[in-house]
């Protein structure tokens, strides 16, 4: 807040607030994961509840299953995204800014791809929404899954775009990976959060892939 009008901040205050902001990103990422995890926990609860209640024997007549190949591709997209984002972070820590950028753009692409596949899959189901408990829940889970992938893609995309704009400003200060400017430090904190978040997306995607397609 060095720019704030009427406020002359000493250097240690700026450093302190930067540390606070870094902490906020760290904490915020974890809390965000908690929030989304609870929403998906609601869906997971519904899955096990409807399955155990099996109203009128209509939980999953005839072993209805959504298109397995598409579902695997979607979970795969999430996994690829997580691996790429983590690998990018690994390279960023080594000082390889460009590798990080490429990996992050690719991650965003994987997210958008997964989201698109998920929406497409919803139009290609072999059952109608109200036909069974499974069918209903799958239709409920699909858009949530697509939205989650889109959120991940958004995070990666904004980071990558931000890196492009920031490049020249931090060039003289060691680049994205080493600059001690507050904005570069916060950028790295966010990049770390994104990698963490992508593993969360993958966990959710794979868990539900197991529930909906395999079990």
């Amino acid at each position: 807040m060095a720019d704030a009008p009427g406020l002359m901040e000493p250097a240690e205050e700026i450093a302190y607030e930067t540390r606070c902001a870094e902490g906020a990103i760290w904490t915020g990422t974890r809390l965000l994961i908690g929030v989304i995890a609870m929403a998906f926990a609601g869906v997971g609860f519904a899955y096990f509840y409807l399955r155990s209640v099996n109203s009128e024997g209509l939980w999953r007549p005839h072993g209805q299953t959504a298109p397995l190949l598409l579902g695997t591709e979607i979970a795969g997209a999430a996994l690829v995204g997580a691996i790429l984002q983590s690998y990018g972070l690994f390279r960023l820590r080594r000082g390889l800014d460009l590798d990080w950028s490429v990996a992050t753009w690719a991650t965003a692409g994987a997210g958008v791809l997964g989201c698109g596949l998920q929406i497409w899959e919803l139009t290609r189901l072999g059952f109608q929404p109200g036909q069974s408990g499974y069918a209903s829940l799958f239709v409920a889970w699909g858009p949530l899954s697509a939205a989650l992938l889109l959120v991940g893609a958004y995070w990666s995309e904004t980071l990558a775009a931000r890196a492009l704009r920031m490049k020249s400003a931090v060039a003289g200060d060691g680049g994205l990976s080493a600059s001690q400017l507050p904005r570069a430090r916060l950028f790295r904190a966010s990049a770390e959060g994104a990698a963490y978040f992508w593993w969360f997306i993958t966990t959710v995607s794979v868990l539900f892939w197991l529930l909906f397609y395999i079990v």
């Binding site: 704030a4 809390l31 109200g130 036909q131 408990g133 209903s136 704009r165």
Partner: protein
Amino acid sequence: MAISATASAGLGQTGGPAPGAASPARGSRLNVGTAFAGAVLGYLFGHWLGNAIVSGDLYEVAFNTSTNNVAIFLALLFGVVGWLAGIGALNYPIAKIMGKEAPAEIPEEGWARFLKFTLDHKVVGIQYVVGVLMFFFTGGLIAMAIRTELLNPTSHIFGPNIYIQLVSEHGSIMMMMATSIVVGPLGNFLVPLMIGSRRMAFPRVEALSFWVFISGLMVILTAFPLGGFQTGWTGYAPLQEQSSGGMDSYLMGFGVIGTGMILAGFNMAVSIITYRAPGMRWSRLPIFAWSMLGTAGLLTLATPVLFAGVYMGALDRTAQTALFVNAHGGSSFLWENLFWFFGHPEVYIMALPGFGIAAELLPVFTRKPLFAYRVGAAGMIGVGLLSFFVWQHHLFQSGINPDMRPMFMLTTELISIPTGFIYLVGMGTLWRAKIRLELPMLFVLALYFNFLFGGITGVYLSDVPINVQVHGSFFVMAHFHYTIMGGLVFAFFGGLYYWLPRMTGSMMNETLGRIHFWMMFIFFNLTFFPLFIVGLLGMPRRVFEYAPRLQTLNDISSISSYLLGFSFVVFTINLVWTQFISPKPAPPNPWNSKGLEWTMPTPLPFHNFSRIPVILSDPYRYGEPDALPVADFGEIAAATSSTHEGLAGAQPTSSGTEEV
């Protein structure tokens, strides 16, 4: 889902404006007017879209029922999006896609800033005051309409259609309001001042939470022209699937409000965890901030389950899924479980802030340190944790997991232990105190009085055999009005009288305030105490016809409710007169509090603290003449830089074990 979009939104600020930053917020012409325009446009577009895309079976359903739920949902959804776009909440998330950094925060003057999307937590706090009062008065007027219908057991003023809509709207509006009544206005305004921070962690999330909250009121009110909903605020399925178009407003409304609650709690929790000033150890955190932390935890972790629930309900009504319809493989129990898994933590979302205010105000007006501070803080966190394990006590007679009832009876009764801590704190603080019965103190004492009855009747409800008698009756209804209105709302008004001089710089009128208090206290009790008896004598909730022998008690309640409503007229007159028409400047610290929030000049500087304070002590050092001041603003640090922690070495998340 919008969280991550804005989660890192506030971060660019610390780094200052960078080349390529989005244009600064100064002079933004977007305000509540453009927001309304956006909402109307979005609504119309969504409605058109919904009518355009409905085909096949959905068309047949929409045709036969004359209600196109898809169109209603899309209209409401786009209405909310239009509203947010109109206020400018979406500017930055969109600019982010281009990689732009956050614009710098520019202070704005004048009343117009209160009608804009603003990042100053102090402005958001005041916006919230107006917002929750709008909710509260709307819900209150509807409550008086309900009581009007119940004046007579058999003849009807509104008739069943309108009556049930009124009941449902009252419940929903009040529940929405109560989740934010303290976190929104007082929490947003005071928490940074109390923890020694210049800002909230995510100011955009904070501002967004307010504008989402306000749109929630509009969404839930659209239920009236759409035919209302017949389910009460609990929205039990499959009645939910069957209900008329207003049900869509309910589901959308709770979805929207839920989003706002998540955003508000998220920002609050992260701010308290990471933005505490140096030296603000957990053991020095004001008890009000503890209550906000507990509440924020519940808001962020319980509300997503509600979101999932209303989302499923929306799908049942639009996409023809059958999640809550037993005959098609769903289960009506599923909604009950999801709803109450959120619903019970929500009860404590509405209780903790009241406890926090009471415990925060007591030391000031007893001139004593807070008694058993640690037990109080532990109680708040304990209540929060336990509240996730009690939800099926709402379902004792439902036939869901009947063999689990003793377990839920146990957890429910266990929760009365940490709740009892708040009485320990209160009674210990009053012991041999120098009690000054200022206006806010009256509200605090009223909270202890009312909550005692609310709490003890909770024990009746938690006991499964007695629950057979009182479940779903007016007894329950009186019970939760005693805890929420008698506890939280009293605490809110006490807090408002106490902190308004801090927020606006003007005192409220004492005489009018006392009239308000005594009317509210007496007629609150006269309204709701008879309803305990009415419930025990066999009157179910939400009925428009009842046994004629219960008319006298109901009439006492109804007439008292009008006078209770009138007490808020007194309050409103007081508020408008002393804050807008003829402000009376308040002294800098009118209550002689030792709290950190009273150390700054009035009006509050834009950045709260010109120097980040170093916290030296908790704010309850009454009766200790030798105690250090609550914080050091640089003067002491300059003189004795080596004797205590300073900025340089302090970690934001330091945790202390100092004995208090």
